[in-house]
């Protein structure tokens, strides 16, 4: 014989589920807000009334609300499974943030009373439910504790939860923690007006407000600005107008200074007035840029910002006001920023975690930006390609410029790593904090010996906290410094390997190149003979031959530079010879670029320098020359370069390098030697490593390093007559 028995539910299960499963008060609050998100709300206001006797929190949303049946069958039914069976919200198809169906019990974690007011759009009136959690006590049957629902008037659909008789104190820090828990559900900030479209998710905004009943004042306690954006080093803005003109600027959040709006096209990086985009129209972007170094943030903030950006960093894409996934999602590298940074071809921090931003595109016709039918990404149209390249080009450029600005704090030529002062600063603070700790400890001993009631434990605890914080910051700084040193060492290893490889094989290419030239000429001769009378073919043949000559001259020069002797030996070298060889080497290239290259050397004095790598000195000239050619192309005037070398004294030699380019702005004259300084826009993330290496603003920095390494000097001086830019390089003469 068997009897049937049933599980019985003690009313205390509510306490267990609410108070014990949700350990922290901020987690409990964020669970309630997630319910609003799941209910397709677009705005949520969380109001803290902490001034009166009866502390309360009110969570009010404009979501879909609940009908009476939904209230009874859904809200009052534990583990109903609705959210499991319907993982997406009804209206905006949001992936539901809460799934277990117990989020509502989090209210039990917060206070004794819950008053829920709700109205569904499908109903004319609202419903008010009141729960006194204290009644769900041990010994009572769950289904015997009544919950009252009454009808009430409510104008708008939505839900308001009010929790009264709060259990916990709510400090600003706790409120901010709650905010951070739901930060990723929100639209970061508006960039362009949102158009109303049914069933399109316009986003989710949560406001945390303190209601001061005494003065009836409502103040916003926390938002994304206070939690994250205010710590950014820069804000980058971009817009593309109806004609495809792209403009961008950036603002240094520290100084509040903004750059001018500059026109850009990622395919015309040298051009200050580039052409418009062929396909791209109506784009707005606002992105915050973060350099994740501990010393740039208040203590305790760095770890949090870093953690948030690690999961939320990137640039989200909105089309006609609605989010397009997966752009900007974790692990989505649509701008190829992570890839570029990982390759270390660009040293400034440019990973997705360094950015937090939104780009909006307006395309109501859907002709430029068409979503895949799966709603996962956009169809790869020319406009999408342009968008991707434009944004990454701008973001990388800004990162370079900010790195350059930061580098200005300590001189580029400093032998000490730039981060050392930061570490010293932190170490200094650590010492002070330790001294404070020592003092607090001794005070405590003094008090205990005098039987004082205040034993000073608070002071000791605070100092210990401070010491721990500083120790943490210091260890992070050291780790970061180590990582950066490793990066630099890796870069140097790469460059050294390249140099050695080039040197090793340079002599081989010489004869191979000649052999190739002979065969090439023979083939051409036959071909031209066979096509006699074909003027066009003859023109092409001559052009190819001219280009081969140019290549030949340049290759010979570079091979000579890469030869073992030049590359490896440090010895006095003749400036006169270096300059004349340089002229011979690049003459053909200069001629092809319509550059009149003139050198002036003393008739007999070879101008021997202090010991230096011959190849390094040549690379100084090559760097200045390539910069000059770019500047002269921009200037659209006659192109002349004059290199003069002379002896200033027994101890000092001078090179002056003048060109007729577009000149260097006064404010840039001291900055051009800083690492990463460039007036050139960075290429997009998808560009080749070589293209990125060209635009990093490291060229003149390297020149500076070479010159300073031999105790020389380089600067921009007043241009020589009939020239627009003149560099002066002073090199110590051979002793």
């Amino acid at each position: 014989m068997s009897d049937e028995f049933f599980f019985q539910t003690d009313a205390a299960i509510i306490q267990r589920l609410g108070r014990e499963l949700v350990a922290r008060q901020d987690t409990a609050l964020s669970e309630l807000i997630k319910n609003a998100y799941d209910a397709d709300a677009t705005n949520v206001e969380v109001t803290f009334d902490l001034s009166s006797q009866n502390h309360s929190i009110t969570v009010s949303d404009n979501g879909s609300g609940m009908s009476k049946s939904e209230l009874v069958d859904g809200f009052l039914r534990l583990a109903s499974g609705n959210k499991v069976s319907s993982p997406f919200s009804e209206k905006f198809s949001r992936r539901r943030a809460g799934k277990k169906g117990i989020g509502r019990l989090a209210a039990n974690r917060l206070g004794d009373y819950l008053i829920l007011e709700t109205r569904s759009k499908s109903e004319e009136c609202g419903w008010k439910l009141t729960v006194d959690w204290r009644k769900f006590c041990q010994g009572a049957e769950l289904n015997e504790v009544p919950v009252r629902i009454v009808k009430y008037d409510r104008a708008q659909a939505g839900t308001t939860l009010r929790v009264e008789k709060l259990f916990d104190q709510w400090s600003d820090a706790t409120i901010k923690r709650a905010f951070r828990n739901i930060i990723r559900l929100q639209t970061p900030f508006p960039v362009a007006p949102v158009e109303d479209q049914p069933r399109k998710d316009p986003g989710f905004e949560v406001k945390f407000i303190r209601d001061d009943n005494l003065f009836n004042e409502k103040t916003e306690i926390v938002n994304i600005e206070t939690e994250l954006l205010q710590y950014a080093q820069a804000v980058v803005e971009l817009s593309v107008d109806d004609d495809g003109n792209a403009l961008w600027r950036w603002t240094n959040q520290g100084t509040g200074l903004s750059s001018e709006w500059k026109k850009i096209h990622h395919e015309a990086l040298e051009n200050k007035n580039p052409h418009s985009y062929a396909n791209l129209r109506k784009v707005w972007m606002k992105t915050y840029y973060f350099i994740l170094l501990p010393n740039l943030y208040p203590s305790m903030v760095f770890s949090r910002v870093k953690e948030e950006l690690t999961t939320m960093g990137g640039v989200r894409l909105y089309r006609n006001g609605f989010r397009v996934v997966p752009y900007g999602e974790p692990d989505n590298d649509w701008l190829r920023l992570d890839e570029l940074y990982a390759k270390r071809s660009f040293l400034a921090p440019i990973a997705n975690r360094n950015y937090f931003g939104v780009v909006e595109v307006k395309d109501t016709e859907g002709t430029l930006f068409e979503e895949h039918t799966s709603r996962e990404g956009l169809v790869e149209t020319p406009a999408v390609d342009e968008l991707r390249n434009l944004i990454s080009s701008v973001l990388i450029t800004v990162a370079g410029q900010i790195s350059e600005e930061r580098g200005k704090k300590t001189r580029a030529s400093d032998k000490q790593p730039q981060r050392l002062p930061d570490q010293e600063d932190t170490a200094g603070k650590l010492k002070l904090a330790l001294a404070g700790l020592r003092s607090a400890t001794s005070n405590r001993i003094d008090r205990s010996s005098t039987n004082s009631t205040d034993n000073g434990s608070d002071s000791v605890a605070e100092n210990i906290d401070e010491v721990e914080n500083l120790a943490e910051v210091l260890s992070l700084e050291v780790a970061k410094a180590k990582a950066e040193m490793a990066d630099e060492a890796a870069m140097l290893r790469l460059l050294a390997t390249l140099g050695m490889t080039t040197a090793e094989f340079s002599h081989e290419t010489g004869m191979t190149f000649d052999a190739f030239r002979f065969d090439f000429e023979a083939v051409f001769k036959v071909a031209v003979g066979a096509r006699s009378g074909d003027h066009e073919f003859a023109t092409k043949a001559n052009r190819a031959k001219t280009m081969l000559d140019r290549l030949d001259a340049l290759t010979s020069y570079l091979n000579a530079l890469a030869s073992s002797r030049s590359a490896r030996e440090v010895r006095p070298v003749s400036l006169t010879r270096i300059v004349e060889s340089f002229k011979n080497g690049v003459a053909a290239q200069a001629n092809s670029a319509s550059v009149d290259l003139e050198v002036s050397v003393p008739p007999y004095d070879p101008l021997f320098t202090c010991p230096i790598h011959e190849a390094e000195l040549a690379s100084v000239l090559l760097n200045l020359y390539t910069n000059a050619v770019k500047a002269m192309k921009r200037a659209a005037s006659e192109r002349r370069v004059l290199i003069e070398v002379s002896r200033l004294s027994e101890e000092q030699l001078e090179i002056t390098f003048s060109d007729t380019g577009d000149g260097i702005a006064e404010e840039n004259k001291e900055r051009i030697f800083d690492p990463f300084f460039t007036t050139r826009t960075a290429p997009p993330g998808s560009a080749s490593d070589i293209e990125h290496a060209r635009g990093t603003g490291l060229g003149l920095w390297i020149v500076h390093q070479i010159v300073e390494n031999v105790n020389g000097e380089i600067c921009v001086i007043d241009p020589k007559h009939e020239y627009s830019t003149t560099f002066q390089i002073l090199i110590p003469a051979e002793e």
Binding site: G510, M511, D514, A515, A522, P572
Partner: protein, 373 residues
């Protein structure tokens, strides 16, 4: 392959060698077959092939299993030639500048093995003259091989070899050179050929080539146009007509001085006149008024006599005119031959290279620069 004017080119990089060979063969005056060292040894040291000459690269190590070098291979050929195991033919060093510098730079001990030493880099600038020289070397071997049958005494041998009649032998030539030539010729063609080419035909001293002839006369060839060729026609009396002259256009240096005094009726030595004076006097004598004098930048009163040796060694070669009074003498790694002129470098290039080129006396360079300052 056409065996007329057939040369073999020994190189470890067959593709490149074939490209160079094709370039040298492009007008058909010569036939060159590129071979790997191992194949070359089989052909040449076994006497199965009798080329007109051999081009030899210095570095042969880039082919698998090869342990030998170009000079080593050349020595094997010379030994076999001396012992009559294989026929006499020229061996020309034909290599890039870098391998020469790395393998045998500054060491003249292998120079005697070669009749000529040509850098591969020169082919792109002087292909035609290189081919002429190669055919000239073959011609010299041919001549040296035949004369031994003619039972000539020393005097006849010299007159016939160098195209000089008795009064000019001592006047334009050099006794030591002639003696050494006679001795060498009796040992074997390759011994005499090496002497002829490396100290006489291909070196400035007793003979000068057309470019240097123009320099000494102070004439700008390009600007003077046909007048230059007219003048050359009037210098036939001092043109070299000896062995190899069909391929090496040369003029007797001392003959030119004689011509200057006897024909032009000059009172001052040619070397002591500036270029304007030289050309003026020649024009007055010849009526060739369109001859244009050389200029050194804006300076027209200089007295050039040589090309700067360091300039000629640059890549690409630079023909820098120098007056030896303002130049630095370059010592040579080769044996000293009194009939060969010293090489000179311009003061400017000498100053630049003084620290790294052991042929230059840096003290002398400093001294001369101070004098200039």
């Amino acid at each position: 392959m056409n065996r007329a004017n057939y040369w073999i080119f020994i190189d470890d990089k067959l593709d490149e060698a074939n490209s160079f060979a094709d370039k040298l063969m492009e007008h058909g005056e010569i036939t060159i077959e590129a071979m790997l060292p191992s194949d070359g040894r089989d052909c040449l040291l076994s006497s199965s092939v009798h080329p007109l000459g051999v081009l030899m690269d210095v570095n042969l190590s880039d082919v698998k299993g090869e342990l030998g070098t170009g000079p080593g291979f050349a020595q094997d050929i010379r030994v076999k030639q001396r012992s009559k195991e294989i026929p006499e033919y020229p061996v020309v060093r034909f290599s890039g500048k870098d391998p020469v510098k790395q393998k045998i730079g500054g060491d003249p001990t292998s120079n005697d093995l070669f009749d000529l030493m040509i850098y591969k880099e020169e082919v792109k600038y002087s292909r035609d003259s290189i081919v002429r020289m190669l055919n000239g070397v073959s011609d010299i071997y041919s001549w040296l091989g035949k004369f031994q049958d003619e039972k000539l005494d020393n005097s006849q041998l010299i007159q016939k070899s160098f195209g000089l009649s008795e009064p000019f032998v001592s006047g334009w030539g050099h006794d030591d050179f002639f003696k050494k030539f006679v001795t060498s010729a009796k040992v074997g063609p390759h011994v005499a050929s090496s002497l002829l080419l490396r100290t006489f035909l291909d070196k400035t001293g007793l003979l000068i080539d057309e470019l240097l002839l123009a320099v000494r006369l102070g004439i700008d060839i390009e600007k003077s146009g046909d007048a230059w060729f007219d003048l050359l026609g009037r210098l036939q009396t001092v043109k070299y007509r000896g062995v190899g002259s069909d391929y090496f256009d040369r003029w007797w240096a001392r003959g030119l001085d004689d011509w200057w005094y006897s024909e032009v009726k000059a009172t001052d030595a040619l070397v002591s006149c500036d270029v304007v004076s030289r050309v003026e006097q020649i024009a007055n004598w010849s009526g060739l008024t369109t001859l244009i004098s050389l200029k050194d930048g804006e300076v027209s009163t200089f007295r050039p006599w040589y090309f700067c040796q360091l300039g000629l060694e640059q890549e690409p070669p630079q023909r820098i005119l120098i007056d030896p009074r303002n130049a630095i003498k370059i010592s040579t790694f080769d044996d000293f031959y009194p009939w060969v002129d010293s090489a000179y470098a311009s003061l400017k290039l000498a100053a630049q290279f003084a620290k790294e080129d052991p042929r230059l006396d840096s003290d002398e360079v400093d001294c001369l620069i101070r004098a200039k300052e």
